[in-house]
Amino acid sequence: MELEKIKKKMRSGPVLFSEYKLGEGVKKALQLGRENILFELKDSGLKGRGGAGFPTATKWMLSGASLSDKKFIVCNADEGEPGTFKDRVLLLEYPELVFEGMIIGGYTIGAKEGILYLRGEYEYILKSLEDFLEMLRKDKLLGNNILGNENFSFNITIRLGSGAYVCGEETALIESLEGYRGEPRNRPPYPVNTGYLGHPTVVNNVETLASVPHIILKGGEWFKKHGTDKSTGSKLFSVSGDCDKPGVYELPWGTSIAELLKVVEAKNTKAVQVGGASGICLPKSQFNRVLGYEDAATGGSIIVFNESRNMLKVLKNFMEFFVEESCGQCTPCRIGNIKLLEAIEKIENNDFTFSYINNLKELGRTMQLASKCGLGQSSPNSFISILENFKDEIFGLNGKGKNNG
């Protein structure tokens, strides 16, 4: 515990990494009541931190409005996007925020059960989380009649994943919880109406939930002061790759890429991948773009590449990831990704025509539009953006393609 306190001290930030005392969020929430919680949340403008950016207040309201007597709140701790590790930091160092967020969520929507879906790779965190839950129970923050409130009982269980990136997709996660293959469902119906075992279910990212106690405590107005109009508050960025100080940083939304690069002491940067393998790759000329839902959106993954990196190889690594991690149920994604990978191999071997490459970019567009879930809808992002933004490097130097004079 000592060590963790020291670790914690090293972090600082406007919202998540600011001072917080265990239990205060829940206490305040129970005082405020459901209506006011939703009001503050709405006022704060908090949007999902898991990638999709759906307004959290709306999600809670939708499932809160449902009359079902059984509801669930699920914390999505499947953090699998390449280059993302901020949820791990929250779970290890700020579990109180995450769990209190779940408790407040449960109170607000009328759920009695919360489930934290922890990716199998993080099994080593399980013990400390279980211990923490035990402590919360002792402190009456969890269990029957929370903080003496007769009308509110809530429990949290932790369930492990087993190594499948797609299970981070909320409906795949629900399938996985139900004991099936992690294959995303058709939508509509949405989980807020028909989720786990058919009951209304709110699925939120770890970071989203961790923001909630702070918002409840200090108000939506306070939260909004950070960030931009469309992207309120701050964001945890997981920075890795070619920089001297990789790690998790809490910065307000609206920070530009260039500013971020300065903070992490990146030198000779050629490119930045924003949003992990499913995100987009920006060249130097676009480093003035700002991080936020309105511009360069991201679930927090920032991967930095310096001048020495071969962008085609980077792209290949991403596409190999998707070929393996696609759930394989729908055509555009199951076959589309392998076609994009094949194209990369053809470019490597200088065995392609530009019309072929254009066909594949169009295919990428179809995958974005017609895939069943976010995985297939975003896996072509890096393909399209890297081939576009680094075409000189990729096509200029090592040839022009076989049949292109």
């Binding site: 953090e79 699998g80 996007e81 390449p82 280059g83 993302t84 590790f85 949820d87 791990r88 990716r119 199998g120 790779e121 993080y122 099994e123 080593y124 369930r159 492990l160 994943g161 087993s162 190594g163 499948a164 990136y165 996985s176 919880l177 139900e178 004991g179 099936y180 293959r181 992690g182 075992l197 997981s238 920075v239 890795s240 790759g241 070619d242 990789p246 790690g247 998790v248 991948q273 393998a277 991967i303 590449f305 990196r309 980077v314 690594n317 991403f318 990831f321 393996e324 991690e325 759930c327």
Partner: protein, 157 residues
């Protein structure tokens, strides 16, 4: 498989089913428990799970084959999973890979003759700021270089 072993396994699965429940939503937890203990879920185990949960064996097989951390064939006592995703790749995963293969005399995807170690690749472990990273069973090791990786592997039984 000996009858005795079969009976023991059946009993074990039965107690797991009692512990986690017979509902379909318990399936993954039961499979994870079997995998943790036996390092694989044998065809017999899959059928026993199916029988006790009243689902079809092929459904169990389908689930097992979907998840990277579940498998049907026996593996080594220790499973070493080296991250192959981009940040670790850039941080020197290849060197670790080569050294480890040379040292153990097996390729990734294989198991040492003494069944001590199975080498596998995995995707991003959420340790990208401290790459290269690897999992040894459920424990994570970071900032590997060839030397530390070998030391870690030599430590494990």
């Amino acid at each position: 498989m000996l009858v005795l072993e079969k009976n023991a396994l059946s009993e074990e699965i039965e107690s797991l089913v009692n512990q986690f429940g017979k509902e379909r939503s318990a399936l993954l937890q039961i499979l994870q428990a079997i995998q943790r203990k036996h390092k694989h879920i044998s065809d017999f185990a899959q059928q026993e799970v199916a029988r006790m949960m009243e689902i079809h064996p092929v459904e169990v097989n389908s689930v097992v084959s979907f998840y990277s951390f579940l498998c049907t064939q026996p593996k080594g006592r220790n499973i070493v999973r080296l991250c192959q995703t981009i940040s670790c790749d850039m941080a020197g995963k290849e060197k670790v890979e080569e050294t480890v293969q040379r040292e153990l005399g097996i390729k990734f995807g294989q198991t040492t003759k003494d069944k001590r170690i199975t080498l596998e690749f995995t995707n991003c472990l959420g340790m990208c700021d401290q790459g290269p990273a690897m999992l040894v069973n459920e424990k994570v090791y970071t900032k590997l270089d060839p030397e530390t990786a070998i030391n870690i592997l030599n430590e494990i039984k």
